[in-house]
Amino acid sequence: MEEYSGDEVSFNSDEASVSVKECIESIIGGVDYNQNKVNQWTASIVEHSLTQLVKQGRPFKFIVNCAIMQKSGAGLHTANSCYWDTATDGSCTVRWENRTMYCVVSVFAVAVTL
């Protein structure tokens, strides 16, 4: 009874990365970095990405992280380390840029056992 492992799906990072990329494009595709609007952009990107991920209907908890940085020649590094069940949990990171800014979105999916 405990071992309901018949339907264990792992996180599909390709599918998630595609939907996140579409979200980013729809919100900041073709606009230049604007300090007044960046709060709004980041909030929209994470909200939309989360909504799209939830629409997939999979039994996961999600963590969506978005970093937007103005292009000025400075460097940016992101790293992550996770302690979880590698069979069921997963992550995906989407890097996007345009002429004036970089956008890095990370999605972490942690399985929920039903």
Binding site: E47, A67, F108
Partner: protein
């Protein structure tokens, strides 16, 4: 002889389960105990420790932990398996049999033996969530992150080549530290952002879809003249 085999295995299994229950142990053996000779069920003088004089014969469908009946009847109260030590005996006996049984046993291959030992069923704890004090507490974890960052990043200058490696090292280190203080049944996601401190704007936002009562996160930042570091740790309860 072969007709007696199913009865013996069921009986033995039931005895074993009874003895383990009497210990209060939560483990039950689902697979049958392998037997080599079934005809000699009566003379069982197993008072000694692990070395049993009688190798047992395997149930044809039972070893490998598959078809053993769990609710079998106990019909031989005189069997030595009733004794308290018999559980341990039968457990150790299977190990002993592993060593000695290769030559005399037929029908089962060696690789099935580990399957018998893995078939343990744990009792349900009837617990639906962590205790109040076993939850992911953001404040102490944040202090830990801040202290670690401050001590590790003191005097570090940004360099493009070392930046990525530094990020990985930091992420692993922070994850390890949080794991030590984190309550059990929590999965940890640790993210580190390192950037050069220049004349530009950066915005990092995180949003989560989880159980707000059980899951939480902690953030720590560090900044000096040449770089900034942001560390985010999310703790997600493993339901």
């Amino acid at each position: 002889m072969s007709n007696q085999q199913p009865a013996l295995s069921q009986e033995v299994l039931a005895q074993f389960n009874q003895t383990t229950e009497s210990w209060g142990s939560p483990r039950r053996r689902q697979g049958s105990i392998s037997t080599l000779r079934s005809s000699q069920s009566q003379p069982r003088d197993r008072k000694g420790p692990c070395h049993l004089p009688m190798p047992l014969r395997a149930h044809p469908g039972g070893v490998g932990g598959s078809g053993t009946p769990r609710g079998s009847n106990v019909s031989n109260p005189n069997s030595p398996f009733f004794r308290r030590e018999s559980g341990a005996l039968s457990k150790r006996f299977s190990f002993g049999w592993l060593q000695g049984g290769r030559s005399s046993f037929s029908g089962l291959t060696l690789h099935q033996y580990p399957a018998v030992q893995e078939e343990v069923k744990l009792e349900s704890t009837y617990r639906t969530g962590p205790d109040q004090d076993s939850r992911f507490k953001a404040a102490p974890i944040q202090n830990l992150l801040q202290a670690t960052l401050d001590s590790y990043m003191e005097g570090v200058c940004y360099s493009p080549t070392a930046g990525s490696h530094l990020g990985q090292v930091l992420a692993e280190m922070l994850r390890g530290k949080v794991k030590e203080v984190c309550p059990p049944r929590y999965k940890i996601v640790c993210q580190v952002v390192i950037g050069q401190n220049g004349n530009h704007g950066v915005r990092v936002v995180s949003r989560c879809l989880w159980d707000p009562l059980l899951d939480d996160f902690a953030v720590a930042t560090f900044q000096n003249a040449s770089l900034f570091v942001l560390a985010i740790v999310h703790g997600v309860y493993r339901e």
